[in-house]
Symmetry: D2
């Protein structure tokens, strides 16, 4: 009810504030029998961690995850996986200037109003630092998906006005993390990097789009009506800090198409041996891999819009707790553009949703399995 | 888990297929002590019901709701409100041609795969007929919101390429339901109507956007982290048939703005009497009324993208259950454009989410209330 | 949150008041592909329905269930099963005398306090009439259990001081419903019947115990820690009107045993063919079929204590809404002993819990099922 | 779904195995604004911790809880409270003898069957060590209850055949923790202690009853139908290791009473000033403070039956993983009687349930609170 958990069967609960002792979480409902690769989890965290290049915040955190439970000799036992990531590099004095002021477009005012109290240091619970725990959950989810040959790949497809125009099938998604912008279109990476760096020098920030593709998902994921796969994906994405929009398949562009253009025709894709393993496929994929709320076996792809980061290194007008008008200026270490670090978070949330629905889908048919 | 419920405290569960005996639902968690206006519920259903004009499906349904429980002498008692809407005008023979065929971009194939069985008549559970039950839930939710002076207004802001360019504050939202298109921009309603009618005559369909504004919502709604208000709204909207996208506040347009442009400055809005009832407000509202996942007292506004309806009155290629390539042509009674009838559904889902969070918000502070 | 649902995957939601138009419910999460026997459901309802003999309430209700959804050509489709049972034989005038008075040991006072309003007619929502909906849910659950060869048998094992002393394995549980008391010990049925009838004539009521045995449940049902199988059974049983206690296996008697007496030794029960289908069993079953919260393949057996019905046909002192001391005397049609009619309710709740855990148990291991 | 959480609004999730790095948990939904007394939490843990006297296990654990989040300057902020308790004194070698054997009446066999893998060291997740996390949750819940003047007192009321015959109102419950048995009847404490010590020397174990009284709970807690207060208490109690039964109010003894004896008459208890603060009370309390599933303002009291601990220091026959018959003998450090250490656990679970329902109860009426 307090909203710190996501998932129904595969459930992630997170805790922790930006400048508290530690952040952490519990992954409940992870199936037993999975050999967990801890190094992989750590590598995923490295993709999100601060201080990776000059276009991200300079806060230094190892983000070393410590798994406290749920594993026996490296294998999941079906019991909850508790984990902790220590906060090492807090500079809480950076935040004394906002103890009494509400930063524009931040959560300061709404938290103060809702709870009557807030940990203002580094944004407390509202800090994007919380998303490190999502990456841990996602890294476990991805290892489950490996067993099903499902892959999740996100990348930065737009920064400000600079937009990847190629279809994702024309890109080499394995190159995404080879550059600090996390864009697989090599023609654009430098341009994006330089643009973000210019914005940073201006003390300003900029938004963009992360695109994500889930390939190999089986037919049948998603519960029709309220828990459609796209509904759960939308919720997961809009739960990430700084997101303002979500679209799947044809998305907002699909509204100007006619049904005769937009519909995805089915055809029978022949298997490797004649008459065997024929597969139902669609010629186009405006549906984005989901029909009637349920995956149809095609790629699931969607876009997530991120607004520019609220903390800017410029003077702004705002008010304080006494409702007096005051000036405020960003201090501390912040990202000029959240997009590069958002890529592993989007992947993580997608992986968590897909695994949850994979497990839910095991319960819908009468199976005499005992 | 099977996804037929939405909400945590104020919870709607729906049941029913397009061509079964009835559809219906249960509203659980409605507070006690509310004098329910049944006629209002019926009027809300009338806004959604088929057959209202030549640009909607010609299926004739009274959509008379029968409340079976939860009221005593017209007042809610805190017990669940069960309700039923009979299906009267099924023409199941219209659907025999799709018993074995998978309609493109419909839920036929995914349901068949997921469950191994489907009620093909009228799309069964995947039919938009289910949304009538959401309107009942929404009509109850709206009556709760009345007590808090919260209003929910949606309207059609785009059909194909025809787009309302005015800001919602320039429109008279009380006129939305006075025209069959459900657009409050009188300069565009005829154009939209004629366009949809032309599309209908071509046997084709078209998509568009429904915009929605929630005014008067108190500060503090939404749980940070996973159950942010915008995340729950996104899920609710993407759970509506034919939706492909959601954006709140600046949305997808906000990505090209810089933080210095996008940030919403706080100021103190003076109350009617000097020094009394001063209110924290923002000068702009790119946030869309939500900051850090929590409402800030400004208008909550968002857009929902609808794809063109999948059923078209034209020949299309597809496959049947034997995976043979076949032709299919739409029959039966269908909407050429789902937008006009979607307006009350968007409003209903928004109202349900807001009421749920109003009730959740009662539990976050230490209150000695006993 | 309002507590009208039970189950996680197989979920029953009920609605309805004793003297409203109808009671009913929604069964969500029933697996697809089950040929439902509606007559069986009706027969189960007949076991619970009022007016069966002179030792039960004389209210006459057909208790005809109408299934509104979730079936296609008699087979479950995985969509929610909505159902309604009309109230026909309300005599609401019987209750005008309690409009302003709080009946001792009834829910009148607590409902009035909690909600500020109550439907006093027949007890409204607090009436045991609600349990008819549980029997519908249970009758569906039992049909699922049939596919797993799991049986659920409850019976009256004690009425007042008259107690079945035989172990359940010495009784023919198939005879339970052949007598109005629902006791399979033929030596006691007449004695119990006559005792209840005597109590009835005195205008009084009496309590007792219902015992229940679940046979054939596979190993592995139940989630350790909070959702242990016995914890979920205890909750399900204590959710039935008039229950005051629950014990499983050795129960309250086990507390005086030593561990060396109480422990259930494991042994290997040989299969029909040497070396094949050997089964782990226990020599005794003080555990009641559950160890560490998880079923071990032995019979699950438990007892449920029912207090005497609160409504008696004798004068009692109480207070009214103005807190004035008044006299009250039972009117209307009531059960002198709830036990006989409770038997199908206990079975139903047990079946619902077992099916829910059967489905939950499908998700705990890594299975490459796609 | 995996059952490691309890509560709806005030929700405790626990993780950790007996011999892993640490156990811990997350308390989500704790209201903001509560000054938490950490020392009180530590004192509550001290009541449960092992090694307190010769009649408890000699495992030495400080059970020092480290709160990682959710507090700002000592006050709850409404964000999740993450906590960790390190495991220091594992002696995992003590358990190598059970790696392949199933201990009678333990969870070894059921875990192995359910998950295909188990952490056999110290019972892994099935160890009662997990209950330390419940005590942390309970200690937070109790501090919330303090604000409502609600107290929770449990005590050992029976060990084997030695039973407290006095009504709890005749006992000084403040003395419970002054003796190692946790029994407030000074005439019995030595007898119980000596009896348990004798059992211990025999290498055997014994069961008993913990009684619990919740005083001061307001009228209105509990949701009728499935989430009755007594149903949620029953579940919470049966979720504690080694419990076999639960009874509330008259419990199993009430079944032999007639309604005319059992009913609790209401009367008006005059307030301190004439005509002011009159209170509805009952002359007797066979209901145990709950009517129709909802608290009525009287004391809530219930009993919990605990079986003898399964681990005995005697030879027993059992089987190993290969289903061969083998002998097994308890090693390691174990409790001869779980009762003394169970007292704070019962209190904790009760406090958690009561707080959860206090918060749930805030949402049932129409309140214009904004």
């Amino acid at each position: 009810m307090a909203g710190n958990s996501i998932g129904n069967i595969f459930k992630l609960t997170t805790f922790g504030e930006s400048h508290g002792k530690a952040i952490g979480g519990v992954i409940d409902g992870c199936p037993a029998g999975i050999e967990l690769d801890i190094e992989f989890i750590q590598n995923e965290l490295a993709k999100r961690k601060p201080g990776q290049s000059k276009i991200t915040t300079q806060r230094k955190e190892d983000d070393t995850v410590e798994i406290l439970s749920g594993l026996f000799e490296g294998v999941t036992t079906g019991t909850p996986i508790g984990f902790v990531i220590k906060n090492n590099n807090q500079k809480s004095t950076d935040y004394s200037h906002i103890e009494d002021k509400f930063r524009p477009s931040h959560a300061d005012y709404t938290y103060e109003s809702k709870y009557g109290i807030r940990d203002y240091r580094g944004g407390g619970r509202s800090s994007a630092r919380e998303t490190a725990c999502r990456v841990v959950g996602g890294a476990v989810a991805k290892q489950i998906l490996n067993h099903y040959n499902v892959t999740v790949n996100a990348y930065v497809s737009q920064v400000g006005e600079i937009k990847v125009l190629k279809h994702y099938s024309e890109l080499d998604l394995s190159t995404t993390f080879s550059n600090p912008v996390r864009c697989p279109d090599e023609n654009l990476t430098d341009m994006m990097f330089n643009y973000i760096d210019k914005i940073r020098k201006e003390g300003d920030t900029i938004g963009g789009i992360v695109s994500c593709i889930v390939s190999g998902a089986p037919v049948g994921l998603g519960e029709p009506v309220f828990d459609r796969l796209e509904a759960d994906l939308a919720k997961a994405m809009l739960s990430i800090n700084a997101t303002k929009g979500f679209e799947i398949g044809s998305g907002f562009d699909g509204i100007t198409q006619k049904g005769s253009e937009h519909n995805d025709e089915f055809f029978c894709h022949p298997g490797p041996v004649e008459g065997l393993d024929n597969k139902v496929r669609t010629r186009t994929n405006n549906s984005g891999g989901v029909q009637g709320g349920i995956s149809n076996g095609e790629d699931i792809f969607f876009n997530v819009a991120f607004k520019p980061v609220a903390t800017i290194m410029q003077k702004q007008r705002t008010i304080n707790k006494k409702l007096e008008e005051v000036e405020i200026e960003g201090k501390g270490r912040h990202d000029p553009c959240v997009l590069p670090r958002a890529v592993p978070i989007v992947e993580s949330m997608a992986a968590i949703v897909i695994v949850d629905h994979l497990l839910r889908n095991r319960t819908v048919k009468l199976i005499i399995d005992n």
